[in-house]
Symmetry: D2
Subunit: 380 residues, 4 copies
């Protein structure tokens, strides 16, 4: 692992998720740019001190030299956005498979280059768009892509949060500080941090690409240097209309990612804070509440079944969704090590192409925000 030191949030989530199923073990890491902090985390994780590194270059170099079987199979990159690219590039260069946090890179150019590097390397590259790991999201995808909703007409996706409603980046919040710092986060704030999840979730479920964006992007908190709110109209490649809105100043909202997809035959609705339910609606019949863990879900979606650990009524949540990405990612690496094609179900995790989409989305929204034209096209 690179990143995930004492002040970090998401690194330990990666570790819990990776550990849960017993198929992944953490063996080495560079957890902070500060040697002492990195060592402190290494001790907490009971790692061999010789495999706790001071910087990622050292990690890449030294681990690469270890014999196969002893060396780390893959590296998770959980640092702030600005360092994803150089780290991932170095690791790929040293022959490691890579799991990377989103947004994938700092710029679109880096994303395009990383895409090339991944394809050239033949390594497995995962991107932690964790919400695609939820079983009911997979059921939704299988329903939509299987045609059950008919032609998709309208998509509404939102991700309101309230934690940055005041300038807590100035009063000691480490998480707030780097996320509102253009040098670490890139050109986008809320847009990059949570907007990309909306974009990814929409495209993951529907298989439809966003083609045009019309955006209104705002920084509400005085003195903040990046956006903390964004509202967008969308057009999709099949002509579907969309609304995407995210906020970090929506007081009282926690992590209220939700999506509504309206088709010509049926509709569906999913809420991240109630992740075990999928609401499916029909033109003239009672709405149905599909709930994770039931046989009728497994029958409809092998991917949902595979992503399920517990019977219905024993709720699963955020860490398990994370763990589902790790499980598929690890199984794909195992297939790669065995020189086999992975099971198509194991190949179901976001990768470098999704990462490029995310960067293009950020770019397009920011361009639209500055434009007086209604529509800005999103490149592919």
């Amino acid at each position: 692992m690179v990143g995930g030191g004492p002040d970090a949030f998401i690194g330990e989530v990666h570790r819990k998720a990776a550990r849960m199923d017993g198929g992944i073990e953490i063996v080495a890491g560079c957890f902070s740019r500060h040697k002492k902090k990195s060592e402190e985390t290494g001790r907490l994780l009971r790692l061999d001190p010789s495999r706790v590194y001071s910087n990622f270059e050292q990690l890449a170099e030294k681990e690469e030299r270890l014999p196969e079987g002893a060396r780390a199979d893959f590296v998770s990159v959980v640092t702030p956005n600005n360092s994803h690219f150089p780290i991932a590039k170095t690791l790929l260069g040293s022959g490691f498979h890579v799991m990377c946090e989103k947004p994938m890179t700092f710029t679109v150019e880096e994303a395009r280059e990383l895409q090339k590097l991944v394809k050239q390397s033949g390594k497995v590259f995962g991107l932690m768009h964790n919400y695609t790991g939820y079983p009911m999201v997979k059921l939704a995808r299988d329903m939509v892509r299987g045609g059950e909703l008919g032609e998709i007409r309208k998509i509404v996706v939102q991700y309101p949060q309230g934690w940055l409603a005041t300038p807590i980046e100035k009063t000691g919040s480490v998480q707030a500080r780097w996320r509102t710092d253009p040098a670490q986060s890139g050109a986008a704030g809320a847009l990059g941090d949570i907007g990309t999840h909306c974009e990814n979730l929409s495209e993951y479920i529907t298989g439809l690409r966003i083609t045009k964006v019309c955006a209104d992007v705002t920084t509400f908190v005085k003195g903040r240097r990046l956006d903390d709110d964004a509202n967008c109209l969308l057009r999709f490649e099949n002509g579907a209309r969309g609304i995407l809105h995210v906020s970090q100043i929506a007081i009282g909202e926690e992590n209220n990612l939700a999506i509504w997809i309206y088709g010509s035959k049926k509709s569906l609705e999913w809420h991240q804070e109630d992740p075990n339910c999928l609401h499916v609606k029909e033109p003239d019949g009672p709405a149905r509440v599909y709930r994770r863990g039931n046989p009728y879900v497994a029958k409809r979606s092998s991917a949902a079944a595979r992503a399920t650990r517990l019977p219905s009524g024993h709720p699963e949540a955020f860490i398990e969704a994370f763990a589902n990405l790790y499980r598929n990612f690890a199984d794909s690496i195992r297939a790669s090590l065995a020189r086999k094609k992975p099971d198509p179900l194991a190949a179901d995790f976001p990768g470098v192409d999704d990462g490029l989409r995310g960067m293009l989305f950020i770019d397009t929204v920011l361009a639209s925000a500055k434009s007086t034209d209604k529509w800005t096209s999103m490149l592919s």
Copy 2:
């Protein structure tokens, strides 16, 4: 009453709402352009046959001649949109107070003229934006306008419906037929029918005017002549951002009008299909669920208390909200008859100014939909 014959929907809702509290009695009407249908409704309502009229001009003329006390005090206009203006104009001219369905007129020009006529006449004019009649909407308004939410930053308002997801206007639905017919509905479909409710609800609660609109307006059902879906970005006069979206092709949605208002201090959320609750959220405290009929609601809002008939837990709903507008409207007429100023709480119902706002909103959204510019200004 003008309108509300055998095939009508909203006319009987007006009658139920008007009757409920015992302060209003229906004494005369022209319920249809077809004499037989008008008479049929008149019989059902046990009206004096001499006061069931064949057309609204006759109603205005004959009722005007009746002595005060015997003649109708006011007339409700519940016809399709295209006839609101000529009927209201005639009735005002004959000295009647008028309650009118929304959208108020067929065009902005008519709306401006009606505004003048109402002001000149001195008559009481009510517009049936019924959702403002809900007690929890009034509590929301009093909280927002009282400053409890701080500066308003963001407003999300939606009204998805699914009933027009297929072309039922071609298969016998009377309600669908006139609503999708430009000759009867005007230039807008969903936008006029339900979009104006969103616009009105936002402005009613916040007291903030929409200044700019960026709209994506769509007709999804082939052969339909008016819009059945609209997505808008909004700007409000204080700089607040907004999203407004309505649909009539959102399968499985019934009447899912809902509003989220985010301030710098607190947020709130209200759902028309669960109208007895108002959710209020704080930056660092548990969300609070205010419920209609409780003493703590009455303490916070005299308007909510006045709009409440039953104790908490005995749910009130759509017809009662309608009835609240009628009650305030009737009390204002009583004050007018007594040549007194109405109680300010009784003056709390939408009127001709709101009707003009609604028509301007439709106009602006349709202009924006055709424009390649991002923002279209909304006149006042």
Copy 3:
């Protein structure tokens, strides 16, 4: 109407419900034992002063003498429990149809006598178990009685309220005062006021009679003379098990009447505070949320369709359920006046037999509460 004066709650609910549909007009009344109060209410209702009476005997006598057509067709009895019987008896004796509040009488003996009197009189007698008026309760009944749930195995029914958690009967609450006064309410407090609704709702939906009761009845508030909490185990005639619990000291609960019915094939669930939904659950399929006003509901239940005024998504609530009982009651009277059999759908309202069941239920629970035996049989 007898009762429903200035301090009353339920009388005005009866009037609103009766008025709403335009088929019932209030023409006479005795609204209070205090002449002035009765007159005050009469004036508010704009009644002919000669038909506002000082006591119910006078009302019965004078109205009886009026010519048919002029005289009241029926009388609603909305007084405290102790006077229901003498009033209803007198009114039936004078040839009036009667609508009566629940619990029907003061004692089981009165209930049995009233049952006889009603049968002898041939008059229409309605009992205001208003919750049976909800459309989704009617759908539930039609589903259960139609066999869709299979054999009924278990019924859980509850009615928690919190309004009597402190001794507000001592600090001026008129509603609390008579409800906690044995001289006015009878032998039961919460049990009579809300327990009878639970009993009635269970039997109405399932058509199964309670045969045995095991009860734990408590008065939590010091100095209170009647029960404010009751928990019961039930046995039904078919062997089904049940739980029934009511409370008036359950702080924060408003009117949380709810019922869960578990069959050998399906289950269902209904909540009075969310009355437009009926939840139906299957062994291996997603739960279905039936919502009032949809065509698929009308197809399944003519009774639900008849009890529906508004399309789906326009919520209906408490007063409308009340009005449904009044409408059926009035239609049955119309049939009686026309010497016809009423439409079976119009005959769907609780009557004197249900009233006797309620009184037997109270008696049985109170006997069980005092008994050291587990089971106490409920007579029929």
Copy 4:
């Protein structure tokens, strides 16, 4: 670990929960009475084959001989109920700390003996009443025990499931087979499996002991040898009244454990299927929805804060609650190994005394079910 082989359900849940935080490693086990199955699981877990045992006696004997540091520190017992006692007894005798599934033993006598053995051994003994591991349950406990609800008056606790509504024990369900087999499960079916969770949760949150029970226990499915439904009235030591009901034939219910606690000042409500919320209600104020992960929760309950891994809005669920028990249990073992007193917060997990309470509860309910007396006392 003893138990948790290929057909097991709960064993792997234990492993996932134990692994998640990185503080516990599985090093040895006897996963099945069938050697091959035990080895199969051992391989899946990548254990040293020499530490995969054929029976628990062997495990105890061989692991005991390993040097400290190498030997397992504790053993989790996740077998069917009938073997808990002999296994736990042997393990304690060999000096192991023990984590045991519930119900703790087969009989009350075994439970009393195990209580003695644990106290004599000085070992740490944990009982997997996992629902006490949820942060919002800990918040509830701290609120109730801190007096915020006033005197507790009424407790309603339920655990309906539907998975045994048909005789699936006859058609291949391994989980159903042992749970409905008296030889493996003991005298109780649903009562032991889920009834004990209700009993434990009530006593954990309130600190009040059940003193009397009145039970109606049923087997609905023909041919089944143990109960699949139980309804109980309860009395608590302080005079509070209670209702406890469980079912495994409640079609459509998944794992709907829920509790309502009504005090003289406030009430609260928690639902296992929505575990991140705690509803707190007041006599005259809006209900409050406390949500896990917020600073205001941490301020109120150190135990809740300690049991929280993720910020608010990132839902946590079943496995995390399990993991919380494991974390506290492991920290207590660490303290024991260090010959220190554990942090009081680490001592917060159910133990042998709770296990005895559970067995007494089963015994009392079954005695009540056979008795014609209303109340059966629960011994302590």
